[in-house]
């Protein structure tokens, strides 16, 4: 059955190739030089929304289209929620678009393993300054072979800023926590005064893992231990990870989060926070964008941003933020010749210096070093960008874990919030991760 399917696909591909050959043949016939030959290029991305970043990226693509009239560009903007599935579906049929947005981490790895990508190293050779200007670790998840890069990140997904409401901290005379003890004091004081200490919307269960656990556990276990555990050289059932989960449980037990955090979504939690019902919110850079889009200037004024507090006695460095390269544009293995040239140009048009600046000016984080003091960005964004520039970046759990293990810890954190046992959660995570490293 599979074979027959492959046959049909090949046949269709052949026919379309033939058609393409014919049409380009007639094109060159009319334009002697052949340099105006129409190149057909497809790009898929998930910048489909109405937010500033999506508009910025779409703007870059439109500009490329305008500057390259010889390229017939078919750009598909697919909503974020369905994007992974859509791409996986065409990947299964080996019908990838020429250029596509790929998430850094498990998705890019899976595509590389399935032999669907080819390197964009020619761009790095052509523009060495451009490559040198990226922040440390920008290519960690895209450098599958020594010296070959398969994509360049167009974003920094910083997942664990500590946002806080300055006014509430002043009103109740609480110091902004820099240590765990201070954080617990703050939690208690706010609870005594009927203010939710930390807003959390964990209905989509990745939220607590991505925003809180990544940073929290890194402070307890250190980055090195985590990377070992991912490879199977340490176990998530180790005491040190149980201790990290215990810190999360301590937050739950002290009612740091509002009631029913598991059934409201992240956006609702952001609203709850910005309306002054909660004193803090631990969230990613996306909250900057969401708040900028929905909150009034008055609501934004008291909001400050910092890193999560240090944990006394932990093995990890304080002042870090969990995050990573936020995905970039990759090139399909099947793209060759003139189409490949055009595709590389398109990738540079989006991920190059001008593209990075345009994305930064849409108030979203990039991994590209530049001066934004005079750029057209919001004050809160500038604060966050400067915090991120200074802070070390530590791994986000689900970017390194297998998809199954990521799901296990996501559900595990919800279980802890419902009173589940730490050891059980750790064991499920370990089992799921072990299954994927065996393969």
């Amino acid at each position: 059955m599979k074979k027959r399917f492959t046959w049909v696909v090949t046949l269709i591909a052949l026919i379309s190739l033939l058609a393409a050959a014919c049409s380009s043949g007639s094109d060159t016939g009319s334009n002697e030089g052949g340099s105006t030959e129409k190149v057909k290029l497809t790009i898929w991305h998930n910048f489909a929304g109405d937010d500033l970043r999506a508009k910025a990226v779409r703007g870059l693509i439109d500009e490329y289209k305008k500057n390259n009239p010889n390229v017939e560009l078919d750009a598909q903007a697919i909503p974020v929620d369905g994007y992974r599935q859509r791409l996986s579906t065409v990947a299964a049929g080996n019908e990838m678009p020429d250029v596509f947005f790929v998430y850094a981490g498990s998705q890019s790895q899976e595509f590389y393993d399935a032999g669907l990508l080819q390197p964009i190293t020619p761009l790095a050779e052509e523009y060495p300054d451009w490559k040198a200007n990226f922040m440390d670790g920008a290519f960690d998840r895209f450098e599958f072979e020594e010296g070959q890069i398969y994509s360049a990140p167009v974003g920094l997904s910083a997942t664990s800023f500590l946002y806080y409401n300055k006014d509430l901290f002043e009103r109740y005379n609480v110091t902004v926590p820099t240590t765990w003890t201070e954080l617990m004091t703050a939690v208690k004081t706010f609870n005594d005064n009927g203010i939710t200490p930390i807003a959390l919307g964990n209905k989509a269960p990745w939220v607590a893992q991505s925003t809180i656990l990544g940073s929290l556990a890194d402070r307890v276990t250190g980055t090195e231990w985590f990377l070992k555990a991912v490879k199977g050289e340490a176990s998530f059932t180790d005491q040190v990870f149980i201790d990290a989960l215990a810190k999360f449980k301590e937050l739950v037990d002290n009612k740091a989060f509002q009631e029913g955090a598991n059934s409201i979504d992240n956006t609702q939690a952001e609203q709850y926070f910005i309306q002054g019902n909660a004193a803090m919110m631990i969230s990613g850079a996306w909250t900057l964008t969401n708040l900028a889009a929905s909150a009034t200037d008055e609501q934004m004024a008291p909001i400050e941003v910092t890193t999560m507090p240090a944990i006394e006695g932990g093995a990890g460095a304080p002042g870090t933020i969990s995050g990573g390269a936020g995905g970039g544009f990759a090139l399909s293995k099947n793209t060759e010749g003139a189409v490949k040239e055009a595709a590389l140009d398109l990738i540079y048009a989006i991920s190059g210096p001008d593209g990075q600046k345009a994305i930064a000016e849409s108030n979203s984080m990039v991994m590209y070093k530049m001066d934004l003091e005079n750029a057209n960005v919001s004050p809160l964004y500038l604060k966050a960008f400067n915090v991120a520039k200074e802070a070390g970046i530590t791994p986000v759990y689900d970017a390194y874990l297998s998809a199954e293990a990521g799901e296990a810890i996501n559900n595990g954190l919800q279980e802890i919030m419902m009173g589940g046992k730490l050891e059980d959660v750790a064991k499920k995570l370990q089992d799921a991760q072990a299954r994927s490293t065996q393969q």
Binding site: E259, N262, S263, Y272, A403, N411, Q414
Partner: protein, 290 residues
């Protein structure tokens, strides 16, 4: 003979397109997914034949059993909730008065709404801080009943089943009204002459006549509840910690969140088997009754 043969071949010909569509989009995918169920496959890369391993893993996974239990809760709530309520409403709203029509439309309305809308509306009703339900309980002085309806694993499955029932009563109401209106007036007149009124008429005349319709609605309830998916995915996504996981969301999460396509296919095959079993069971029970 030839004319009847011609008629039959015409019928066959006329049915062919529909049959073809049904086969390609209804039956073939079922066979394909049953086939994928024997493989370890991430959706990308090579398929690895594993025989019945996926099924074995499924039967050993406590989450599968929880999903099945949740599905059975839904089936029970649909049979206890939707069918009797729809029947009662049909009996009350049988006459074609203006008032009855308005109420009928109101009952049918949630069916017309997109399930996503229904899920979102009830999500807000159940919202723990400012949701309608908790605010109302507060106002009535029932503070002790206030809870996070969709988070608390003790109640969230029941909380989720209410909107599903609410949204699905409409079509059954219409089916029952149609069945009741089909009862010929002679039967009603004869019952009246024999002095069968009220409950006596209901149990000895009306219900036996529409018994077949009731069986059909129960079958629809069972199959509908077993493939329930959209309301739950909108309201809870199967969470928290998979406490409201249904077979369909379990299948979805395995295939599309964790990328175990082979395992997900095995689960969907299992859903078909369980539906067939329950519907067969229902068939035997109700057959004996009649």
């Amino acid at each position: 003979m030839p004319s009847s043969l011609r008629a039959r071949s015409f019928v066959t010909l006329a049915l062919l397109p529909a049959l073809l569509i049904f086969l390609t989009f209804g039956i073939v995918p079922i066979i394909w997914s049953a086939y994928y169920g024997f493989f370890d496959w991430s959706g990308l890369g090579a398929l690895k034949f594993v025989g019945l391993d996926n099924y074995e893993m499924m039967l050993q996974d406590p989450i599968f059993w929880r999903a099945l239990k949740n599905n059975l809760i839904l089936v029970a709530s649909a049979i206890i909730g939707q069918v009797p309520i729809a029947l009662l409403l049909a009996l009350l709203l049988l006459k074609n008065s203006m008032f009855n029509r308005i109420i009928r439309s109101a009952v049918f309305m949630p069916m017309v709404l997109s399930t996503v809308v229904v899920g979102l509306i009830w999500g807000y009703i159940y919202q723990p801080q400012f949701g309608l339900l908790n605010t109302m309980l507060d106002m009535l002085g029932l503070d002790s009943w206030v809870r996070a309806w969709l988070s608390d694993p003790k109640v969230n499955m029941y909380a989720v089943s209410i909107p599903i029932n609410w949204a699905n009563i409409g079509p059954y109401l219409v089916i029952f009204i149609a069945a009741l209106q089909n009862i010929s007036s002679e039967v009603n007149d004869a019952a009246k002459i024999d002095g069968a009124v009220g409950f006596r008429k209901l149990f000895y005349v009306t219900l036996p006549i529409i018994w077949d319709t009731i069986i059909v609605t129960i079958i629809l309830c069972i199959s509908g509840s077993l493939k329930a998916f959209d309301h739950v995915i909108v309201m809870t996504g199967g969470g928290p910690a998979q406490s409201t996981e249904l077979l369909a969301t379990y299948m979805y999460n395995n295939s599309f969140t964790v990328y175990r396509y082979g395992y997900g296919s095995a689960v969907s095959t299992m859903i078909i088997l369980i539906s067939a079993l329950l519907i067969g069971l229902n068939y035997f029970i109700t057959k004996r009754r009649s």
